[in-house]
């Protein structure tokens, strides 16, 4: 049945509204910081940009995993799933590194509106990436035990749609936080 | 028959415009309601099923022309109402321009601080204005959102922390207009009254002069005791009395408490007996009020009342 894919598409649409609201909150407070850190004063667009590339690449690899599934290439599907997980994990590591650096400089969620909106937005995104990683790991585990011989699997396709969504959100988030602050 | 208040007793040009727009709109819309009710009554009488009648009625699925007509009629009503809305807004809410505010009204949990920046008068819960004169008020808040509302004088306007608002205040005739806080603001939202006292120009000038007088601090007797207690018993942590060390802005300015009509933003009439009751236990009359029960002894209360009464 095609129900599962329809469900995830509407779910992703619903989630988009959630992220749009978080982004609007960030935009609403951008430029209102009177004292304390701002995006310009505390972030590094290049390091985060490089880690972002890993997340973008993972979108590509999960597409390859789906392609392998349709081609009934079970081995390559497992490989691409694993690569996707690794790439996602590297991105999360990058996020964690950035957060740790900020918190070390005493830039926290309670410091000022920049801290509040930045940590909320990247935090909720990171949470979604982690959920995606957990789901991908379950997929990989099941695949290792012999599931998903292809050519079709709602499970793989649904999680793939979700993963592309998480990736797409990051492109917007990176643009709003980093590109806006440093490259415009 | 007692007079109905609020919209039925508009006492400023703004309120007259608001009142007539509101009443006309309500009357028109009630007319629409009555048409529907009439149709329903006719239907109930004419189309009730006869128990012996087993034929199904004519199966009518709709009529495009009718649908178009009854889409266009509400469109027309909406258009008229919108035009009236635009017109009334011009009357009720004249532009502020680059006027400086004559009054600053500041919402506190649960009282109103009132400042006259041009003369320097600071008072609470009672807004004196000269009748017939337009004054520009700036509405602010120091804590949560409040809403300034004097039903007989005009519109509501929110007092929002970090977002000052402006409105023109005018009263047609001298008199007392009682208002309230209209935005829920916590435990004592119900007892956050504002009294607008519209006076003649002379009375207002006189009042303003009186408010600026710095009363001498009594040194002796009961009142002298009270003055000392006021400084010792933490009263001064929250209140101001001009001419003394008490200059805090947490609670109302008490310098000219004598001239005010009520205590606690309207919970008690301002008499020495009531002041005594209030100081003995404000929580009894305004539960949740930020003024704590200071656990004063009856003699201490009497002394402080004497002090506050002596400030003239």
């Amino acid at each position: 049945m095609a129900d599962n894919k329809m469900l995830i598409k509407f779910f992703v649409a619903s989630e988009s509204i959630f992220f749009i609201m978080l982004i609007l909150a960030y935009v609403n407070f951008k430029g209102t910081v009177v004292d304390g850190p701002t995006a310009e004063s505390s972030l590094n667009p290049y390091v985060t940009g490089i880690f972002s590339l890993f997340l973008l690449a993972s979108s590509f690899t999960i597409w390859l995993a789906g392609k392998s599934l349709r081609a009934k290439n079970h081995t390559m599907m497992k490989v691409w799933l694993l690569v996707t997980i690794v790439l996602g994990a590297i991105f999360i590591f990058g996020q964690g590194r950035e957060w740790a650096g900020l918190i070390e400089q005493n830039i926290t969620i309670s410091r000022n509106v920049f801290g509040t909106t930045f940590f909320t937005l990247t935090g909720f995104h990171g949470f979604h990436v982690c959920v995606g990683l957990i789901m991908l790991s379950i997929l990989l585990g099941l695949a290792l035990f012999g599931d998903f011989k292809g050519p079709r699997s709602d499970g793989v396709e649904v999680i793939s749609i979700y993963w592309h969504f998480v990736d797409g959100v990051w492109i917007v988030v990176y643009s709003v936080i980093y590109v806006w602050a440093f490259f415009l | 028959m007692e007079k109905l208040g609020g919209i039925f007793n508009p006492s400023s040009p703004e309120m007259e415009a608001l009142s007539s727009l509101t009443l006309y709109t309500i009357v028109t819309t009630v007319g629409i309601l009555l048409l529907i009710v009439a149709a329903m009554i006719y239907i109930i009488i004419a189309y009730r099923k006869n128990p012996d009648d087993n034929q199904e009625p004519y199966q009518n699925f709709g009529n495009l022309n009718l649908e178009i007509v009854w889409t266009l009629i509400p469109c027309a009503i909406v258009a008229v109402l919108f035009l009236l809305t635009c017109n009334t807004m011009k009357v009720v809410d004249p532009p502020v321009g680059d006027h400086e505010p004559d009054i600053i009204i500041i919402g506190h949990q649960w009282w109103w601080e009132i400042r006259y920046p041009k003369s320097g008068v600071i008072t609470a819960n009672e807004l004196h204005i000269p009748a017939g004169k337009y004054l520009l008020a700036r509405i602010e808040s120091v804590d949560v959102i409040h809403d300034f509302w004097v039903p007989e004088l005009g519109r509501k306007i929110d007092a929002i922390p970090g977002h000052p608002n402006h409105m023109w205040i005018v009263a047609g005739e001298p008199g007392l207009y009682i208002g309230a806080c209209a935005e829920f603001c916590g435990a004592q939202h119900a007892n956050m009254h504002i009294r607008v006292i519209a006076e003649t120009e002379e009375e207002f000038k006189e009042w303003e002069k009186q408010e600026l007088v710095i009363p001498p601090t009594p040194r002796t007797g009961l009142a002298g005791n009270g003055a000392k207690l006021f400084q010792e018993k933490a009263c001064m942590n929250c209140h101001t009395i001009m001419g003394t060390a008490a200059a805090a802005r947490v609670g109302p300015n008490l310098t000219h408490l004598n001239d005010r009509q009520t205590i606690g933003a309207g919970v008690l009439t301002n008499t020495p007996e009531n002041l005594n009751k209030w100081l003995t236990n404000p929580q009894k009359y305004k539960q949740g009020s930020l003024m704590p029960n200071m656990k004063l002894s009856p003699t201490e209360v009497e002394a402080i009342v004497a002090y506050l009464e002596a400030l003239k």
């Binding site: 329809m6 | 109905l4 306007i157 977002h163 806080c181 209209a182």
Partner: protein
């Protein structure tokens, strides 16, 4: 989905442990849409009684000036919980529950598209409700900042109690539940229809549920994000809504009403759906202008997304903003008016049977129009400045939510009770219930219009003895007692009819939609055979083969 499905769409895999007789275990383990639907209805009934008692306590406190019946702290908790309960735990879950029960039956499906997700939705509502009510047991009591939790009042340091935290968490859980059931309904309606049941033929109730579901999935995330921010403010000292630390007091209002106004339509559209089912059946005529009723719903749904700031005219957003939101809000009157006139036209020329469901549906039209016309009036900015945050508004939205949603809910219960239980509800008790409701409801809320324009603000636990305030409030309180009595009669009716009501048979009202083709109560698998659908009223077509609704319809099989 392809048109080559069997008449009863089958699930590809058997549902977990779903047997006819699971006994008590069915109450927790069931994923059957009918069982879950009924559980929704029962839970909402409990919350309805609780929320009603809260209202009654408030009305007693207000029965006379300066009355000392309950303290201001308790009063503030009561009105917060009353509003929260009635909106999130009565009207919303009731309408969702009725939808969950009826949508699969009405479109000829076996169950919802995602039965387990359906159960999750239900249990999340229960969980959210318990979480919120649990706050009464905490040291400082339930939330007391009003159901719209304006910041910074709902923030530290103005609300140091735990109530608002429980409130936001509980509503977050309920919100997730609503999104889940919205998604479930959308997929069910779009993919599980029986052959022949095209989108132009689904019952109007299903249309309303569909539009409501779209509203749910698009506006609940707005408030979910605001709840998340509020919780971060309260728990981690973030500064979204605290002006003292650079946050904004107004942002919360935009978020809240961005959700809050569409929410009003989430509460009323399924009610419109119920009315659009009841009126044709009891007038013995098809709905007048099906396309216009369905289309106006879509228009209302879309417009409702762009009108939120009419709740904020007193905030001082500027004339241009105010006028835009004023006009947009007034526009909603047009599709709503179209609906009302279509209902009236459906009754016109009919042969009307005034059984209890029809009594409530007829009264609904008048009470709802009453709430609707005051609604148009307050869409005008200057009028709003006069009446906003006064008792006029309390009267207005109770006419919409009680006179509208609750009247429709009662109509729906009397109408579908035979389907739910196999037994009819008592008509005698039903008429008592109806007339007590009419008297109690109008007595309670009509006078509040006058109190409002005379200057009585909302959410005050006491008031001074201004002319006529005492007597009008007393009338309102007496009305509330009558209204409470009417609810008792209703509960009693449900109780006795469930056991001793007249046997209903499959189709006691001689109605036309598919749910009446199933047994009463329906078997676990709903239909043995779904009747052929060649028009909007399959059972009419079956009963009147000589006069089908769509004589030229092609047979789909």
């Amino acid at each position: 989905m392809s048109r080559r499905l069997p008449l009863v769409p089958e699930n590809t895999e058997p549902l977990p442990s779903l047997k006819e007789n699971q006994g008590m275990l069915a109450w927790v383990s069931s994923v059957d849409h009918k069982q879950i639907g009924l559980m929704y209805l029962m839970v909402t009934m409990v919350f309805f009684v609780v929320g009603g008692l809260e209202a009654l306590l408030m009305r007693i406190q207000l029965s006379q000036p300066e009355f000392n019946f309950i303290s201001p702290e308790v009063y503030n908790q009561l009105f917060t919980m009353h509003g929260t309960t009635m909106i999130f735990f009565v009207v919303m879950p009731f309408l969702i529950g009725v939808g969950v029960y009826l949508v699969p039956l009405m479109i000829g499906a076996r169950d919802m598209a995602f039965p387990r997700l359906n159960a999750l939705s239900f249990w999340l509502v229960v969980f959210g409700g318990i979480l919120i009510y649990y706050s009464f047991l905490t040291q400082s009591g339930a939330p007391d900042m009003g159901w719209f939790a304006y910041s910074p009042l709902s923030e530290k340091p103005f609300s140091l109690n735990k109530g608002p935290t429980y409130w936001a968490l509980g509503l977050l859980a309920t919100g997730i539940s609503s999104v889940a059931s919205g998604l479930n309904n959308i997929v069910t309606i779009l993919t599980m229809r029986t052959p022949g049941m095209t989108m132009r033929r689904i019952p109007l109730f299903v249309w309303m549920i569909l539009v409501t579901s779209f509203l749910l999935i698009f506006v609940i995330p707005i408030i979910a994000s605001a709840f998340a921010m509020m919780l971060l403010d309260r728990l981690l000292e973030a500064t979204f809504f605290t002006p003292a630390h650079g946050g904004s007091a107004i942002l919360w209002q935009h978020f809240f009403w961005g959700f809050g106004h569409p929410e009003v339509y989430i509460l009323i559209l399924p009610a419109f759906g119920i009315i659009s089912e009841v009126i044709p059946v009891f007038s013995r005529k098809p709905i007048f202008g099906y396309e216009f009723v369905a289309g106006s719903t879509v228009a209302i749904g879309l417009l409702s997304l762009g009108v939120w700031a009419h709740h904020m005219f007193a905030v001082g957003l500027g004339d241009v903003t105010n006028l835009y939101f004023s006009l947009a809000s007034m526009l909603i009157a047009i599709p709503t008016g179209v609906k009302v006139l279509n209902w009236v036209a459906t009754m016109w020329g009919g042969k009307i049977i005034f059984a209890t469901p029809m009594l409530f549906a007829t009264a609904f039209i008048i009470e709802f129009v009453m709430g609707g016309i005051t609604g148009v009036a307050i869409a005008s900015v200057p009028i709003d400045w006069v009446v906003t945050d006064s008792y006029f508004i309390v009267a207005h939205f109770h006419y919409v939510l009680y006179g509208g949603s609750m009247f429709a809910i009662f109509a729906g219960v009397y109408y579908w009770f035979p389907k739910f239980t196999g037994r009819m509800m008592s008509e005698t008790l039903g008429k008592w219930h109806f007339w007590l409701t009419i008297i109690g409801f109008n007595m309670t809320f009509f006078v509040q219009h006058f109190l409002g324009v005379m200057g009585m603000p909302r959410r005050i636990y006491t008031y001074q003895d201004f002319p006529y305030w005492g007597s009008m409030n007393l009338i309102s309180t007496i009305g509330a007692v009558v209204l409470a009595l009417s609810v008792l009669v209703f509960m009693w009716n449900v109780h006795v009819s469930r056991k001793r009501g007249k046997k209903a048979g499959n189709n006691p009202w001689d109605a036309w939609t598919l749910e009446w083709a199933a047994a009463s109560p329906p078997a676990v698998h709903n239909f043995d055979l779904v009747p052929p659908v060649r028009g909007r009223r399959p059972l009419w077509d079956l009963a009147h083969p000589e006069q089908p609704d769509e004589p030229n319809a092609k047979v789909v099989d």
